[in-house]
């Protein structure tokens, strides 16, 4: 979904750049609360991983491909503010070094794939996490739905921007149908990859998943972790059990 230069007019491009800058500024403050000695190295890894997986375009219908955005995955792994920073680094490197996504459009891309994808993905994840049964399955379902939703919503926000400042004179309705339709399919891939990666991390190091910390505290994951032989982690849950 990397928007190239030229699709949107200068005013809309400048507007999204301002939104992106404000979002990143907020994230720089918010991420300080999220980043500790565990999440900081995880954040670097997650950003690098998202960059790599974004190269893996998978085929969807109509001779079209899509790739992971990674906003929801990153937010669940390292926290939403840190995720905005991770996505911004990925998008900046892609625009500046790999000519993927326009240079003037980098604010648009940070808005769509940083702010919107992370916001929608993590927002839906938190809502669902609150209502679904606690435990691995509920957590993965919440993350999967968040990941799925993040893609078509980001696509429709692009359509909205295109309506505000699209350079070409084409029917907005049919752009919306086409963008929304294909990104529903890509969203399924986003959900599958997000659930697979989160499931793998939860299986070996659930303590490194920031969005699963409440489970750690409630020891819902403890039985499995203990059988997996995890010497480092039990220090944290112990006080809760003592209570």
């Amino acid at each position: 979904m990397h928007v190239p230069d030229g699709y949107l007019d200068a005013a809309t491009t400048a507007g999204t750049a301002a939104v992106a800058a404000a979002g990143v500024a907020l994230a720089l403050r918010g991420a300080r609360r999220e980043l500790d000695e565990r999440t900081a190295p995880m954040a670097g890894l997650t950003a690098a991983f998202v960059f790599a997986v974004q190269m893996m375009n998978f085929p969807v219908a109509y001779g079209t491909s899509g790739h992971l955005i990674g906003g929801a995955l990153t937010a669940v792994l390292v926290g939403p503010w840190t995720a905005v920073l991770c996505m911004t680094v990925v998008l900046l490197v892609q625009a500046l070094v790999f000519a993927d996504g326009g240079l003037t459009a980098v604010g648009t891309n940070v808005t769509l794939m940083g702010l919107v994808a992370v916001g929608v993905g993590y927002g839906a994840f938190r809502l669902l996490r609150a209502v679904l049964p606690a435990g691995r399955t509920g957590l993965l379902a919440a993350a999967g739905v968040g990941a799925f939703l993040s893609v078509p919503v980001a696509a429709l926000v692009f359509v909205g921007l295109f309506g505000l400042g699209g350079v070409a004179d084409v029917s907005l309705g049919s752009v919306a149908v086409a963008m929304g339709g294909v990104h529903l399919l890509i969203g399924l891939g986003e959900a599958a990859i997000t659930v697979a990666v989160l499931g793998a991390v939860l299986a070996v190091r659930p303590d490194l998943v920031r969005g699963a910390r409440h489970l750690q505290r409630a020891t819902a994951l403890a039985p499995r972790s203990e059988t997996a032989g995890r010497p480092a982690a039990p220090a944290a849950p112990a006080p809760v059990e003592a209570r």
Partner: protein, 128 residues
């Protein structure tokens, strides 16, 4: 901490393999936005990025003829660059946040000590 380091190292290797080897097998069909733009007739408004002449533009390393090698090297370079930048940024933010008198952070005094001992060494910019 050592186990976390192991996890991160394994994760980086996986990312390098995906970008360096796996990406060769990625679909080269247009992505959702490109396909929509072509179908709806606004693809012609796209302009070349100012970075289109970058040695790594379009995920291939300039000067390497073998497409597979060229793409793989570009992917590896990208993963390392993102790791360096994102990891550096988040480490810097973490240190500063641990350094402030945020006594509320229950996680550890250990990291605070860590930080103060490292403090004079880096971040000469001394922002804040």
């Amino acid at each position: 901490m050592t186990r976390t380091r192991t996890f991160v190292l394994v994760g980086v290797v996986v990312a390098l393999l995906i970008a360096g080897v796996g990406s060769w097998y990625a679909s080269s069909s247009p992505d959702g936005l490109e396909a929509t733009a072509a179908e709806q007739g606004f693809d012609h408004t796209a302009e070349d990025s100012a970075t289109a002449d970058s040695p790594l533009a379009d995920y291939s390393l300039a000067g390497v003829d073998d497409a597979r090698l060229s793409g793989g090297l570009a992917g590896v370079a990208g993963v390392l660059l993102v790791l360096l930048l994102a990891g550096g940024l988040t480490l810097a933010l973490r240190r500063r946040s641990a350094g402030t008198r945020d006594g509320a952070d229950p996680r550890d005094e250990a990291s605070t000590h860590d930080v103060s001992s490292r403090h004079e060494v880096d971040d000469p910019a001394g922002r804040r």
